[in-house]
Symmetry: C2
DNA sequence: TATTGATAATGAACTTTATTCATAATCCTG
DNA sequence: CAGGATTATGAATAAAGTTCATTATCAATA
């Protein structure tokens, strides 16, 4: 009798468009693929026709689907804006967001999220905590930062909450002529004698060391540089091998500038978490920031998985 | 974590504003007062404050409530429009809406609903079936009308659906000096010897006759005229008494032009139904028309109850 | 100031709906 | 045509939303 269309459905539809397929849309919405499939099926039964062609990627929407998407585009921004206004009404206070990072790569994806955030919460003062801190989460209890990007949850810090961000594969980067490119995957022993080219961070912050080389007692030479491009240049010219997030080097690999190789049997994976003071964990602007980070990363970084 | 605001909530809020209080809002939405109360409570717990001041009629909204209403006003018309577009996509065919009425009073409330309908479904041809038909529902199987306003459901007509509209009290209208105005209510015997002033319709169409005079075997003189104003003029000048819907004469009563009196112990009530061909019963434009009629009547006719 | 009537709130039972889980079907690609 | 990825499906589960029955609150009024 009465209309059954809800915002939930519109969110699903836009997620489907943004994510490219149902499974990814589900990930974006923190739901299962099944849930969305059922949702769409229901809508289709109500409106008497398919909403999109299933077998196409990116999805091609039918007239019905397109009309609903048009509605979504018109509505959701207003809903979003209203909810932020309401959060502001509730909190009153403006707040600040001082961001600390542990590694350089973070900036690649942090910037777009920060830009989006600035547009949505103009009254929140945003800053980057200068310098690179080996353990940025420690800055939070000291009230020197409000948000820190870290690669491990729960450091035993009290009063600090960790929000899962995403998980990504770390691959070994080799020059095109390197002998090891033939191997299906690299084991710890393969690194012996090689020079490991990395960002300038302490050993214990490197996932390759922490998860592979450390446990197996293998030590390697280290050489470091700040920029990804410089790092790859060194690898390409045979000065050593590196281990970097797949998403960070995807474009270089596609161009064939360097080669890559899985590390360990099932691959080596790193995870990132956003740390913030428990006191701010529930603050709408903080939740929105975490959401924006997750969303923009998921939509722009190839091959990552949301946590 | 994720937003829980849904269109449902926005609809509740606008209904609350339109209807004036929670109970009436519930009636408008075909829900219970309790349901809406729970809904609002939930919203208030989420947004951390009241949405409106309960004890005031009409409701006074807080900043939070007002912001949500602002959102509703921006969103709901678009949702509505989209759903109509989708219905058009599904049905394809334009359709027509020929309306037949049984009594003159209907036009008072039919007009605004028809105007609203015309704006929403410009492609549907709307017409009024000329002449007053003692039994307009009969025109539907003959395909001479698509919608008929009748005062009884289920005439034993097959292929015709009856949609409950609303229920209203019918009161006796007396001149200010009439002896009967002193009585707490009128019984059948009180009508004996009086002239009953009515619209020009057959006896069996009049609720007073059908429900009160008929069963008790009392017959009265009849005199009829087409216009409500003329009818009241006759009553006021002592030519007889009348029995009319309370909502139709409310303004005359408020001005003290005539007096009124309850008919029978618990009062006399009439009900109206919208009849249409079963085949069209589920057509979006027909459902929308019924909805518009119910809604506009509920919001404009004083003292009625939705069925 | 009690009484009544109207409106709103509440907690528990209930119903409906949404989501997940486990699995099967389908589609695409190499 | 196998294997991987995506989608569909039915049943089970979880989570709501809604109603019911009752109580609380408030305003008008006797």
């Amino acid at each position: 009798m009465s209309s059954l269309l809800e915002l939930r459905h519109l969110r699903t539809l836009t997620a489907l468009r943004d994510a490219g397929n149902l499974s990814r849309a589900a990930e974006l919405l923190n739901l299962t693929q099944s849930a969305l499939s059922h949702q769409l099926k229901l809508l289709e039964s109500v409106y008497g026709g398919a909403l999109y062609e299933r077998k196409s990627a990116p999805p091609r929407f039918t007239a019905i689907g397109a009309r609903l998407l048009e509605l979504s585009d018109r509505l959701l921004p207003h809903v979003d804006a209203a909810e932020r206004d309401l959060a502001r009404l509730a909190a009153g206070t403006a707040g600040q967001l001082r961001i600390a990072v542990e590694c350089h790569t973070c900036f690649d994806w942090l910037m777009p999220a920060m830009d989006a955030f600035r547009a949505r919460w103009p009254e929140v003062e945003m800053d980057i905590v200068s310098g690179f801190n080996p353990e940025p989460a420690a800055l939070i209890p000291q009230d020197k930062a409000d948000f820190a990007v870290v690669s491990t949850d729960g450091n035993g810090l009290t009063g600090v909450d960790f929000h899962p961000l995403f998980r990504f594969e770390i691959v070994a980067i080799l020059s095109r002529s390197h002998a090891l490119v033939e191997k299906p995957w690299l084991e710890a022993a393969d690194f012996a004698g090689e020079t490991l080219i990395t960002y300038p961070v302490p050993d214990e912050m490197l996932d390759v060391v922490r998860q592979l080389l450390g446990p197996s007692g293998i030590t390697v030479q280290r050489r470091s540089t700040e920029l990804t491009a410089a790092l790859l240049q060194l690898v390409a010219s045979g000065r050593g091998i590196s281990a970097l997030p797949l998403w960070a080097v995807k474009s270089y690999l596609d161009r064939g500038y360097v080669k890559h190789c899985t590390i360990g049997r099932g691959g080596l994976y790193g995870s990132l978490y956003g740390a913030c003071a428990s006191r701010l964990s529930g603050a709408p602007y903080m939740m929105d920031f975490v959401r924006l980070v997750r969303e923009s990363c998921f939509l722009t970084l190839p091959g990552i998985t949301l946590l």
